[in-house]
């Protein structure tokens, strides 16, 4: 018969629970009782009592300690690691400094860039249901024109979407208030620029909240909605009530106030006018046009709608409707949906956009630059740590003999590098806080510490520190722990990391090479960027943009243009005054003209309405024919001047051939009436947009009734006094209106403002990267020369001259630099070309960039290595050799 035994699960449990010290005796006692009970009371009751006895033993005096021993051991080890790190760090101050310096710079850069990028990426996050909201843009193509992307679409898009597409829940249009509006509030005059004519649905889609008053389809046209801050600016602290504001020609009722639009919104709107108003002042047939592209259009789709399906349907629909109308114009378009959150970062190639646009590419560039700095810092750490491995070989060996296994050593060195990253992390946090204000000033953003100190940001930061620590710790750890402890203690082979003399694939050299390649590429690219920007600043625009100012024309000023001109001309430093519609650097009208002899199609062209003095004032040169002149009575009514691009686009072989050709232009006042005339002159191409764009066809003609601007050419001397004079004159006409002259060159500078900032930031990062890489190299070389001290001394004793020694020490680094240059140059050439392709007018990248960079890098290496080499080879060999 099988012997009865206690429940096996209970036995197993007790074994796992009971402290080893008590286990045997207690188990024995339990069995003994069990056996006795089996005899006396039977198996089942014995089992029951066994369990009962066991439960009485469930007490802390019997139980195993909860991993207490192992925990304390590990903590102790970490304490020891910490102490070792501090001691080693203190002992090798130079090494620690280089590492901390590099890591701190890298981390600080990454912090700032991350902040910047996070901000850029968070645009329009306040918009609800953003996934269903889109802006519509058109890709416009034509027979002989380059592809354009326009965020403005025909007026007919929105009504069609609303009425004929069940997928669309809302759709609304915005029409930009070009030129801004001047508000008269009581005695005060405010000139405001950020306004639109809007449909209520568009406001809904954009989540613009009307907090006072109301705004609907029925709001009467002559009204205005003000942003909360603009209302405060106009009426100070007065509570909201229906107010009126005066414009030059009319009076507007303030019908409401909307909540200020968040800074991180692609639109910056201060006032909103009823869309009906814009419609009223437009000929009705134009609002039915499928050609006239002028309206920012937003749609909201119903949930669950398949975008691709919807877009395909809409394209077919648009094609059907527009084909007949658009055909004579020689172009066609394809609509696209742009998710509302993409507008800020993915609109950089759009024309006529009023959205605040950033560039995804720039952000990417910055991110890569910061990453490179961090990478270089890590490589420094890895390099220097492995270079110094020999010094620690003894420590490692002793640890191994005492019983540390490889895993523990790896943890130790990983821990050590993590401490370095954490120290650097804390320092860079402090730096970050100190530098936040200058950074805000530079980027024009308003970052506050509060919004940055979110839990996720902090976790992310410390997480990255840990990652960085492990990343830069693992390779040194592997090298350090690879030693055979016996050899290491004996000081034998395999422990000395003496650099090889030739260029071989030593991992440390590879890392130095990587640093060099990255730095050289960064320098080249940032130099190319700077050259491009200075090219943009100084390139010939086809007109002279220096000392040219621009003023909006007001009713009082345009009352009698001749008198106005006379009064402004009354100063020796005012050279020319001209009135016009269309100023380079400002908004220029796009339109079209017919050339009856050429074809029936309309040619698209930018329209400039000018006076006799325009070409003279702008200093635009004539290529053929003549400019407008008051000697010809017919010039105001029937003369056109075109530019060289127009000559080519309209199909003339030469400027001379274009002279005398007939041009028809549908006037804006009444589209049925044509202005008919002849081409009297051809001017050279002048750039009136940013140099991102090619010059397009331009038609200039006289048209006093369209004038909106006044441009003034100043002399070179004493601009302040001249401006004062102009202001005095201006006051005679407009006593209260603000005098806001704009310099045309600064308007052009604004086109490149964001890119300029980018290139400056990029340069800054380049300098930091080179600095980090250089001090890393310095540390490495100084170490390698110290470790070769004996070799150098022996060479010296045997008769090597100082010069020869220096050459020996320096040459391998020069070789390294040359190889790196050979790799870095093609790479940066390729990258820079990709970037330059964004510009219609760009520099060519040639040796004038690369040769100086190459020389500079070689020189830098010579200095870094040379200093150490000279020091090493000048030392007295007797002293060196005596040391052992």
């Amino acid at each position: 018969m099988k012997q009865p035994s206690p429940p096996s699960f209970a036995e197993r449990f007790f074994t796992s629970f009971c402290h080893a010290r008590h286990l045997e005796g207690l188990e024995g006692d339990l069995y003994e009782l069990f056996e006795r009970r089996v005899q006396n009371k039977g198996v089942w009751r014995a089992k029951f009592f066994y369990l009962l006895d066991m439960t009485t033993l469930m007490r802390s005096s019997v139980a195993k300690p909860i991993k207490r021993n192992r925990m304390t051991n590990n903590l102790g080890m970490f304490k020891n690691y910490f102490k070792t790190t501090l001691r080693m760090g203190w002992k090798r101050k130079g090494f620690s400094f280089i590492n901390l310096f590099g890591l701190t710079i890298g981390l600080t850069s990454v912090l700032f860039i991350t902040l910047f990028v996070q901000d850029e990426l968070s645009f329009d996050n306040h918009v609800t249901d953003a996934k269903q909201k889109f802006r519509i843009y058109n890709m416009v193509e034509g027979d002989d024109r380059e592809v354009q992307y326009l965020p403005i679409v025909p007026p007919t898009f929105s009504p069609s979407l609303r009425d004929d597409f069940p997928q669309v829940s809302k759709s609304g249009r915005l029409f930009f208030d070009y030129g801004g509006t001047v508000f008269n509030v009581g005695e005060q005059v405010f000139s405001e620029k950020n306004g639109v004519y809007a449909e209520p649905d568009a406001l809904d889609i954009l989540d613009i909240e009307v907090v006072e008053g109301s705004f609907s389809e029925d709001t009467e046209p002559k009204s205005v909605l003000l942003s909360r801050s603009l209302f405060r600016k106009f009426f100070e602290d007065a509570p909201y009530a229906e107010q009126t504001v005066k414009l030059t020609r009319s009076t507007l009722k303030v019908v409401g106030v909307f909540e200020d639009i968040p800074v991180q919104s692609h639109l910056n709107l201060e006032y909103i006018l009823p869309f009906q108003w814009a419609v009223q002042s437009t000929p009705p047939e134009r609002m039915q046009s499928w050609v006239w592209q002028q309206f920012y259009t937003y749609v909201e789709l119903r949930p669950e709608v398949d975008q691709q399906d919807f877009l395909a349907q809409f394209r077919t629909y648009v094609k059907d409707k527009s084909e007949a109308q658009i055909k004579p114009y020689g172009f066609w378009y394809t609509p696209y949906l742009q998710p509302i959150k993409d507008i800020h970062l993915h609109s950089s190639n759009f024309q006529w956009d009023i959205a605040k646009t950033g560039s995804f590419q720039s952000i990417l560039f910055l991110f890569i630059a910061a990453g490179i700095i961090l990478l270089i810092a890590c490589l420094n750490f890895i390099n220097l740590s492995t270079a110094q491995a020999m010094k620690r070989a003894k420590e490692v060996s002793v640890r191994k003999f005492i019983g540390a296994n490889r895993g523990q050593l790896l943890i130790q060195y990983g821990f050590e590098s993590t401490i370095y990253t954490f120290v650097a992390g804390i320092v860079s946090m402090i730096l970050f806080i100190l530098l936040l204000t200058p950074f805000n000033n530079f980027t024009g953003k308003v970052f506050t510490l509060n919004e940055l100190l979110s839990v996720s940001n902090i976790l992310l930061f410390f997480g990255s520190l840990l990652f960085l620590g492990v990343l830069s710790g693992w390779y040194p750890a592997i090298v350090l722990t690879r030693f055979n402890p016996l050899d290491a203690l004996r000081g034998g082979k395999g422990t000395k990391m003496v650099p090889t003399r030739n260029l071989s694939l030593d991992p440390r050299q590879l890392m130095v090479a990587a640093q060099y390649i990255l730095s050289i590429s960064l320098i080249s690219i940032s130099l190319i960027m700077q050259n491009q920007y200075s090219f943009l600043r100084t390139t010939d625009m086809g007109f002279n943009k220096e000392n040219l100012i621009w003023l909006p024309l007001t009713t009082a000023l345009e009352n009698d243009l001749n008198t106005t001109r006379e009064s402004f001309m009354g100063h020796s430093q005012v050279q020319d005054v001209s009135f016009c519609y269309g100023v380079p650097g400002g908004i220029v009208a796009g339109d079209g003209v017919f050339l009856p002899q050429k074809q029936e199609n309309e040619f698209s062209a930018n329209m400039f309405m000018v006076d006799y003095d325009y070409l003279k004032t702008m200093k635009i040169d004539l290529v053929a024919g003549r400019g407008f002149s008051n000697e010809f009575a017919t010039d105001p009514t029937s003369a056109f001047v075109i530019n060289e691009t127009a000559v080519a686009n309209f199909g003339f072989a030469s400027p001379e051939e274009a002279l005398g050709e007939t041009v028809h232009w549908a006037t804006w006042a009444n589209t049925d009436s044509l202005k008919k005339g002849k081409i009297i002159g051809v001017v050279n191409d002048f750039n009136f947009k940013s140099l991102h764009n090619q010059v397009s066809s331009v038609v200039l003609h006289m048209g006093e009734s369209y004038f909106q601007n006044m441009i003034i050419r100043l002399g070179k001397e004493d601009p302040l006094a001249t401006l004062e004079f102009l202001e005095d004159q201006y006051r005679k006409y407009e006593p209260t209106r603000p005098f806001e002259p704009q310099f045309v060159d600064s308007m052009f500078a604004e086109f490149y403002a964001s890119e300029n900032k980018l290139s400056k930031l990029f340069t800054l990062f380049t300098i930091l990267a080179i600095l980090t890489a250089t001090i890393g190299l310095f540390g490495l070389v100084s170490y390698s020369i110290v470790s070769r001290a004996k070799e150098i001394s022996i060479r010296k004793v045997l008769g090597a001259g100082t010069k020869k020694l220096i050459r020996l020490l320096v040459m391998r680094y020069i070789w390294l630099v040359l190889v790196c240059i050979a790799i870095a140059f093609p790479a940066s050439y390729w990258l820079a070309n990709m970037w330059l392709d964004n510009f219609a007018y760009r520099i060519d990248v040639g040796p004038e960039i690369f040769v100086p960079v190459a020389f500079a890098m070689i020189l830098l290496t010579l200095l870094t290595v040379g200093f150490q080499a000279v020091k090493g080879s000048m030392a007295n060999p007797a002293e060196r050799l005596r040391s052992e």
Partner: protein
């Protein structure tokens, strides 16, 4: 190990005395049986073990593993033994009690 004094609880005292009584035969089950026999109590094996551990920590008894037998499936027994301080503490207890009892009036002790 620091202890909060070395005084004995009532049950501990009984266990200590039993260890003394059983001499070289004092191990878990024997102690349990003897206690039951003399005092009528049925101590659980857990309570007994915990008292023994405490006594051992206080230094009144020591223990040793010995004597594997068949009915214990090869497990040895943990035998407890009085230490010098255990013996002297028994004496001390005895003297103290006697002194105190003597001082109670109306109890005649021969």
């Amino acid at each position: 190990m620091t202890m909060k004094g070395t005084h004995l609880g009532e049950f501990e005292e009984l266990v200590l005395l039993t260890v003394g009584i059983l001499g070289t035969e004092a191990y878990g089950i024997a102690l349990k049986d003897d206690l039951q026999q003399r005092t009528g109590r049925k101590p659980s094996i857990g309570a007994l073990h915990s008292a023994l551990t405490r006594l051992e920590n206080k230094g009144f008894i020591t223990s040793e593993m010995e004597g594997a037998t068949q009915d214990r499936r090869g497990r040895r027994k943990r035998f407890y033994q009085l230490t010098a301080s255990g013996t002297s503490s028994i004496k001390e207890i005895y003297n103290q009690r006697t002194e105190m009892i003597k001082l109670i009036p109306n109890i005649a002790i021969q």
